[in-house]
């Protein structure tokens, strides 16, 4: 055998790396081969340095911190595992089908309520359409703002206008409300021809106009706002 074979053996010098037979062969060869014997010395020198590297092992900077952090991560992972278990349980067939049925029932119920509510609203609209007009139309409100009567708004004078009712006062104005148009005869007279002409222009016939004017006289409510002097 050549020296390469023995030199390979020289590198495998630590316990358990060579068989007894290989050890004997190598020992015999080294007795007769100066080159390999010299090589052995060099390898042993290097090996003694490797031993020193082995003995100077790296040490942890902060073992306590590392152990604590490992345990913290495990505890955290344990919590996640509980959540996983819960989710796994949720995925079992019984719970999965029960959830699907529940969701379907909820959606069905919502759809039923939605359509039945729409139906009820439609019925209500139909009932209103078939009922009398007075039930459908809310009270009509007219508002007049006047700045020409600035000198008039003296509280007592205004209150003395017996035909008016509902007096209120805010920062820069007085407000008087008259609930029924019929109680304000001059205004009602003025209103009638103007309204009649307007309605005629809009294409209403005489009967419809009388009905509208009559309705307004019966239901319309006026309110007057007088600005205070200097406002």
């Amino acid at each position: 055998m050549n020296c390469d074979h023995y030199q390979r053996m020289l590198y495998l010098h630590r316990a358990g790396e060579l068989s007894e037979q290989e050890e004997t062969e190598l020992r015999r060869h080294l007795q007769t081969c100066e080159h390999c014997a010299a090589e052995r010395v060099r390898i042993e020198t290097a090996d003694s340095y490797i031993r020193r590297l082995r003995e100077t092992g790296p040490t942890l900077r902060d073992p306590d911190r590392l152990a604590t952090s490992i345990l913290a991560r495990i505890t955290e992972a344990g919590r996640e595992r509980l959540i996983d278990r819960f989710l796994d349980a949720m995925l079992t067939p019984v719970i999965r089908y029960a959830s699907a049925i529940f969701v379907l029932a909820a959606v069905g119920s919502l759809l039923f309520q939605y359509y039945s509510t729409l139906d009820e609203v439609a019925n209500l609209e139909r009932r209103f359409a078939q009922g009398s007009q007075s039930q459908l139309v809310p009270g009509v409100v007219y508002s007049i703002n006047s700045s020409t009567l600035r000198s008039l708004p003296d509280r007592k004078e205004l209150q003395s206008l017996s035909v008016l009712e509902g007096y209120s006062e805010s920062g820069d104005s007085f407000r008087i409300t008259q609930r029924k148009l019929s109680s304000l005869v001059p205004f009602a007279d003025l209103l009638s021809p103007a309204t009649t002409s307007l309605l005629r222009t809009a294409g209403f016939n005489e009967k419809q106009i009388d009905a509208v004017v009559g309705f307004l006289q019966k239901n319309a409510t006026f309110s007057f706002t007088f600005l205070k002097e200097g406002a």
Partner: protein, 195 residues
């Protein structure tokens, strides 16, 4: 670890397997220096090594049910550690290939400048040299060299940890030691110096 401490380790493993967290805490504190030593020698980076140690113990905790009591616990642990280290090394290699055309062994050059081993007194320097030397080895040689020569594990255990055959381990050890010796002679001038 000697036989008595092995027994204690096995007891802690058994208790940990039953969900005893304080026992696992003791197991971690007992074994983490060895796991860290392997990791830092393989990765040559303290932060990465700590990360690997953490990840290894988390895996141990998760998979304790799969642990076979016929095997030494530390062998199982070291296998997890080395596998994670190999993953890190592969990822680092990929990253270096993708992002850096420059040789990643910058610190090897720095150590080479030191030359004179007689001046090397401090442990830190020795560790730095070990890192510089092992970083020059191909991954498989580095793995067997670290486990066998630096961690002092028997060949049979190195085989169990790495999954390599005894023959393959010896071949890789032979090449690793030859490279290390050559580096020590060429770059640190140790041919016949007294250590």
């Amino acid at each position: 670890m000697h036989e008595r401490s092995d027994k204690t380790t096995q007891q802690l493993v058994l208790r940990s397997k039953q969900g005893d967290l304080p026992a696992f805490d003791r197991l971690v504190r007992r074994c983490q220096p060895y796991a860290y030593s392997i990791a830092v020698r393989l990765l040559s980076d303290e932060d990465e090594a700590e990360e690997v140690v953490q990840e290894s113990f988390i895996r141990v905790w998760k998979h304790l049910g799969r642990y076979d009591h016929q095997q030494k616990f530390t062998t199982w642990l070291y296998r997890i550690v080395t596998n994670l280290c190999l993953d890190h090394l592969r990822a680092a290699k990929r990253k270096a290939r993708l992002f850096s055309p420059i040789d990643v062994n910058d610190d090897v050059e720095a150590v080479s400048d030191a030359r004179n081993l007689h001046e090397v007194q401090v442990d830190e320097e020795t560790i730095r040299i070990a890192k510089a030397l092992t970083d020059r080895l191909p991954t498989k040689q580095k793995l067997v060299f670290v486990l066998r020569d630096l961690e002092d594990l028997p060949v049979s255990e190195v085989s169990e940890i790495t999954g390599l055959s005894v023959g393959s381990i010896k071949t890789n050890l032979h090449y690793a030691r030859r490279t290390i010796r050559s580096l020590l002679e060429r770059e640190y001038n140790i041919k016949s110096v007294e250590l």
